[in-house]
Amino acid sequence: MMKKTDSNYSRRSFLKVTSLSGGGMMLGISWFASAKPEDSLAELNIEPVWQEVTSFIKIASDNSIKIFSPNPEFGQNVMTSLPMLIAEELDVDWKQVEVEQGNYDPKAFPRQFTGGSQGIRMAWKQLRTVGSAGRQMILTAASQAWNLPVSELTTANGMITHAFSGKSETYGTFAAAAAKLPVPKDIVLKGNQSFRLIGTPQKNVVAPKIAQGKPLFGMDYREAGMLIAMTERPPAFGMQLKSFDATAAKKMPGIVDIFPIQVFKDDHKFAGFDTRSFNEVIAVVGKSTWDVMNARKKIKAVWEVAPERKEMGVNNRETTVPSGLESTTKHYAQMLEMSKNPGVVERKDGDPEKAFAEAKHVIERTYTAPFLAHNIMEPTNTFAHYVGDKVRFVAPIQIPDWIMPSIVARLGIPKENISIELVRMGGGFGRRAYGHYMIEAALISKQANAPVKLIYSREDDVSAGIYRPSYQLTYRAAFDENKKLIAFHAKGGGVPESPLHANRFPAGAIDNYLAESFVIPSNITIGAFRAPRSNFNAAAEQSFLDEISEYMGKDPIVFRLELLQRAKDNPVGKTNDYDASRYMGVLELVRDKSGWGKPENAGKKRGVSAYFCHNSYAAQVIDLQVKGDQVTVDQVTTALDCGVVVNPEGAKNMAEGAAIDGIGNALFGQLTLTDGRTDQRNFDTYRMIRHNEAPKNIDVHFVKNEIDPTGLGEPPFPPIFGAMANALYQATGKRFYQQPFQPQLKG
């Protein structure tokens, strides 16, 4: 069954078709489409604007087919799954498709954006429309060549067949003719049940190159005459450069130049992702990385405590960055103090004050988490070559659109003079949404008058990061004499942002509900980190729900399902931003797949958790053992509802990785500060999860439905923290309120 796409796509369509030299067809479709749904964009702080969208297919006369993948790739495997969307509707054999990364080109490609688990969701109709248009044009060309009606022709595996006469030819045969046709006005998409490729497990198209160590990454980029640059920065947050003497350093072998750069101008209007840890740094430029690393040690720099400063936003909102050398112990004390005062009310249902006053029993618990460093395995880097009034980048960057206006503002050149080749990123997790390093590389290339690859050492990356904020949440639950939950209170704050999602579960399920927030200004730079805020909320909330279900004498899954049933049948308030049915669906699936409550699992130390974020639902059950301070995770069972799964192989890999990443961060992850200096500098002091600490087995199950795809990269990450805390309680009899958990286990 075929169905027409949303008419607003075709109405606004502006499709372009071009003949390829050599007799092929290149299809570029450009149209204005509403970047819906707008709620997710609001969460990402993007204006819900109309976007120009384009994408490309190339079909050569020898029937070779190339599909460009528009979005930057950082391991979420969109280089496989996005072209699959096009190939499905184009009706070609996946094996004949060659995939190529598209470079940054907002006029040619749709939404070159990696973040917020939105890649597949936003491309779902757009890229299938591209494929379908291509197929329809090839069909029309074949129909004209054969003088047969289109209705008698069928397509499969890049072939067009006329069943009655037995005629069959490749797409390539008609590509040149198709290139001369007008593009179709009405684009027709397949019904889900007609999919041949979507929903089948396909291997990462880049896997063979990765297994051979091919130079795919920004770190691997080089060209003739290229110099290496690194930057020296203050040893602590809250400090700035006063003066420096590079006389000795400049005499070191291989050193070309040493000079200071200012990342943003004094009057810069800061956009949301212009965060950088230090605005003035010392650039060291030399012939090899080793030369530059050695010269850095010889720089005699004088650093001083920076004064309070104001930063003006593009929205004319002024932010005050405080002066001072901050410490984690003080942050924790500040958050505890703030939690005792009234916060900013984010949501209120019923009369929570009265309910708490009349309660027969109240449980109050406070959860705290440290900053986390991204620890992308490929350290921050970028190639830049500034020539005349043009600059060429080869950059690992999640969202080029977000840094472009700032590059333009800083360099004072038009955006047409800036080109960005997008390279595979060795991890991102939010870190590479902040493109200040591109500006740094361009400034260094300009000053050094040479092509330059700027690289951060691991120590630079850990100690001058853009961290997951340090957070705190205090929950209170009120019960009547029958241990019925009558009121719920969440007060969340952080350094320097609150984690609170006031309209998420259990809001909507409890009559009397209060959510408050607070913030503590800081000069520690923070930003997006896989499932921002959710990655802490889930840990705190799901641990608290576990503890109150125990007080109520209820099974933790039954308790959650009862709350969700209430939210489904008779929701409190109108602004709940989750679907209770889908939430229940993942809990029921994880219950069934893990054998929750089954007699054969009675001896297992297991914890459950579920969470909603990035439009998707995830639930996990963890089975573990604790011996001394060693935790062995025997089994993780994950249930996910992210709508239609495009590539089950890649999706499972992502969910498995989220479990391991989450367990590692829950047990070990912490970035702490003493007088502005990070206590962790490298992987010898920042503990990452390792092979012997990974779960012995992970099973991933997807809810099967026909819902258009929702997020996948982030949703399975947050709940794992809660499942760990709850399983650890079962194993040790101790509740875990402070992340990371492992240091609290006694050997």
Binding site: N204, P208, A211, G426, R458, E656, N682, D684, R690
Partner: protein, 152 residues
């Protein structure tokens, strides 16, 4: 001090002029242009730069060029001619990689493990591979790939 060195990498002898303390990692990447060996930490804590020294897995960021006389180095580029070493094939079959940055080092460690322990237990794999970090969290797939390679 800059000196001349002769290093045998992937069965080929290279003449290199470099600072005596320059780690093999940067000799490979910056001088010889062999970028399959990745920089991850520079302190021997992450395994991204793993190569074989006389057949054993070592961290190339910890090996000064002055210590390489008379040794044979194998990098990911020399593990197989066409990416068809059993470990590389298993990595593709199991679809191990996410971002892929650490995988050169993981593969080099796994190949060294299987050379000395052709039929490793799960515990052997976990212990041997513990020096290689993957932030994406592909450890369970890495274990499956090593078991697959061992079974061939």
């Amino acid at each position: 001090m800059i000196k001349k060195y002769s290093v045998k990498i992937n069965k080929k002898v290279h003449q290199v002029e470099a600072d005596e303390n320059m780690p093999l990692l940067w000799v490979l990447r910056d001088i010889l242009g062999m970028e399959g060996t990745k920089y991850g930490c520079g302190v021997g804590s992450c395994g991204a730069c793993t190569v074989h020294l006389n057949g054993d897995a070592v961290r190339s960021c910890q090996l000064p060029i002055s210590a390489l006389a008379g040794t044979e180095i194998t990098t990911i580029e020399g593990l197989s001619a066409k990416g068809d070493h059993p470990v590389q094939k298993a990595w593709v079959d199991v679809d191990v990689a996410q971002c892929g940055y650490c995988q050169s080092g993981q593969i080099m460690s796994a190949a060294a493990l299987l050379k000395n322990t052709p039929n490793p237990t799960e515990e052997d794999i976990e212990n041997f591979m513990t020096g290689n970090i993957c932030r994406c969290g592909t450890y369970t797939r890495i274990k499956k790939a090593i078991q697959l390679a061992a079974s061939k």
